[in-house]
Structure formats: structure tokens, C-alpha cells
Symmetry: C2
Subunit: 193 residues, 2 copies
């Protein structure tokens, strides 16, 4: 049983790595079992399908993202400063991989929304939770008088997250931090004011 759990965890970790790096459809079950160093035949003992594994990968990625948002939500400092620090910290993830990976949620949105209803659902849930957390802090910033109340916090939060995802997408093509710099400049000089 310990062994079985171990194989499952190794498959999940390997899938998170390979699917983020190479995309869902470019990665075969065999690529995942090889990366996990487990026999190919063991895959279907642990996951009903590649799609089912994809859902769990999204959930695990989303859980890591939610953990990263703890400082945004409950950290010290004024809400606007927390938002800025949060996006700054996110932006440091891109250069680490030479802007080659992007955000798994954005990648799966593009690649799988029309292919896998289950993965699309998991991505939708993850993005909804993420938006809600950002909206909460934007609302705090509005209450503190740091951000205007002319547009609802939920709308600003959705716009910001989508704009950030779009900027990350562009970093992948341009292999440059410029889209993230433009995001920070416009977000914190024009939108969150």
C-alpha cells in the first residue's frame, strides 16, 4: 500500500512537471511513466485516464497557487502594497524557466477547453477561486480609499487576472519580461488607483 501510494504520487509529480513543460497533447502516458520511473502498465492502476490525471494535476497546481496567496490575503501591509508585492512575486517565476512554461492554467485554457470538459471545469474552478481572492484584496483597497470605487472589485480582479494571464502568454512568445513590466506599469498606475 505504501508502495502503491508512492507510485501514484510519483506519477502526479511527473505529470505536473511534463504537462507544464510540454503541454497536454504533446505528452503521452509513456512520457509520464518514464519521467516517474514507474512501469508504463502501472498508470491505469492509479488513474482512470489521462484526462483524470489532468484534472488532478490542475487541482494540485491550483492548491500551490492558493498557498502562495496566503500572504496576499492575510499578510501584513496595506492592501494595495500586498497586491503589488503579490504580482511582483508571481512575475519572478517566469525568468526562472526562461519564460518557457507560462501558467499551467492559462496553457490548459488554451489547449483543452474544447477537448476535455473535466479539465476545463477544474481550470474554471481554479481561476474562479483565484479571482475571488484578488477581488477580496481589491475590495479592501477600495474600502481603505487606495483604489477608486467606480468599478466593482470583482470586475477589476477578473480583468487583472486575465490581463496577467495574457501578459504571461506573451512572455512565452517574446521570451522577455517586457509584457510583465507593462502589466505592472498599467495595473498600478492606471487601474488600481
Amino acid at each position: 500500500m505504501a508502495q502503491k501510494t508512492n507510485v501514484r504520487e510519483r506519477l502526479l509529480a511527473a505529470a505536473l512537471e511534463t504537462l507544464h513543460k510540454n503541454g497536454f497533447n504533446a505528452t503521452g502516458v509513456q512520457d509520464i511513466t518514464e519521467a516517474a520511473m514507474v512501469p508504463k502498465g502501472s498508470f491505469y492502476n492509479h488513474f482512470e485516464s489521462k484526462d483524470a490525471l489532468g484534472v488532478e494535476v490542475v487541482e494540485q497546481y491550483a492548491a500551490k497557487g492558493a498557498e502562495r496567496r496566503q500572504t496576499l490575503i492575510a499578510g501584513a501591509g496595506a492592501p494595495l502594497a500586498r497586491l503589488k508585492a503579490y504580482f511582483k512575486s508571481l512575475n519572478q517565476l517566469g525568468p526562472a524557466s526562461g519564460f518557457s512554461r507560462g501558467c499551467l492554467l492559462g496553457n490548459f485554457s488554451a489547449e483543452l477547453s474544447s477537448q476535455s470538459p473535466d479539465i476545463k471545469g477544474a481550470v474554471a474552478d481554479a481561476l474562479a477561486d483565484w479571482t475571488k481572492d484578488i477581488a477580496q484584496v481589491v475590495a479592501e483597497a477600495q474600502q481603505a480609499g487606495e483604489v477608486g470605487r467606480d468599478i466593482p472589485a470583482a470586475t477589476l480582479a477578473a480583468f487583472l487576472l486575465n490581463a496577467w494571464e495574457g501578459a504571461v502568454l506573451r512572455t512565452r512568445v517574446d521570451r522577455s519580461a517586457a509584457p510583465l513590466d507593462a502589466f505592472m506599469k498599467v495595473a498600478f498606475n492606471k487601474i488600481l488607483t
Copy 2:
């Protein structure tokens, strides 16, 4: 020769349709030849590889997009009104497919940036041209006093295009126009002011 050209054009048209609908890696050469109703063996008479076809698909998609920008660039009306009408017209493309397709350039950015340097290059060129056209009209709006000059037109244009791509990505997951509505609201009430 007439026949040969015809087959090539049919392959390109079928590829544009199937790759946009289903993605690059989920579409095989056989799917494309079947959609084009040409023999599978004919593919490599016309294209060196699926990647080479992908580059031409991006170029053709980009050319259509550039055509659509003629009214934005050289149409009647004030620059800010042209920008608003332009994004409004783009946003009408989503519901037509039930938000199932998104933007081919965004999709390929996510799926192929780390897989195909040639397709990444073609997407980068297309997005650079697109940004330049938007920047030109934003600069006109700044000169006309419709938009503040505190942030350079090129930065605003890049931000706007990336934010729009991110919003389109989100429509695919949520199957709703709400991300596009949020884009319009924030873009034209907070950024282009």
C-alpha cells in the same frame, strides 16, 4: 498545375479550420487531409512538415487580422472611438463559436512556444504587427488629447492586446462574454482616459 495549387489551398484552408478548432497537437496530418478531402499522401507534396504548414496558417490568420485593422487605422472617426469600435467588433467573434475557439495566436502561444521555434517566430511577428497598429492609434488618441500621455502608447498597446488575449482565454473556460465585458469596461474607463 491548377490542380496542384487547388490542393495546396484546400490543405491550408482545412488546416486553418481544424487547427483553430482542435489545436495543433490534437490534429494529425490525416485529420487535415480528410478535412481538405485530398489524399493523405499529397500532404508532403505541398508542405515540408506539419510545422511548416503551421507557420503558413499563422501567416494567413495574421493577414486576415491585419485586414480587419484597416478600419481601425484608416477609418473615419476620432482615434478613441475607432479603438472602441475595433475591440467591440473583435468581441463579436467569440459568441459565434460559443467561445470554443479563442484566438489562434493566443492558442499557439500557449501550445507551441516551447515546441516549435518556427511557429513561435511567426506568432511573435503577428503579435508585434498587431501591437504596432494599436499603438499607432493610441498615439493618435494621445495627440488628440483623448488619452493621457503618462504612459507611452507602445506600452499601453502591448498591455491592451495582452489583456484582451487573456480575456479571450478566459471566455473559453467560462463560456461567457463576461471577461470581454470586463475588458471593455476597464480598458475604456481606466486605461484609455
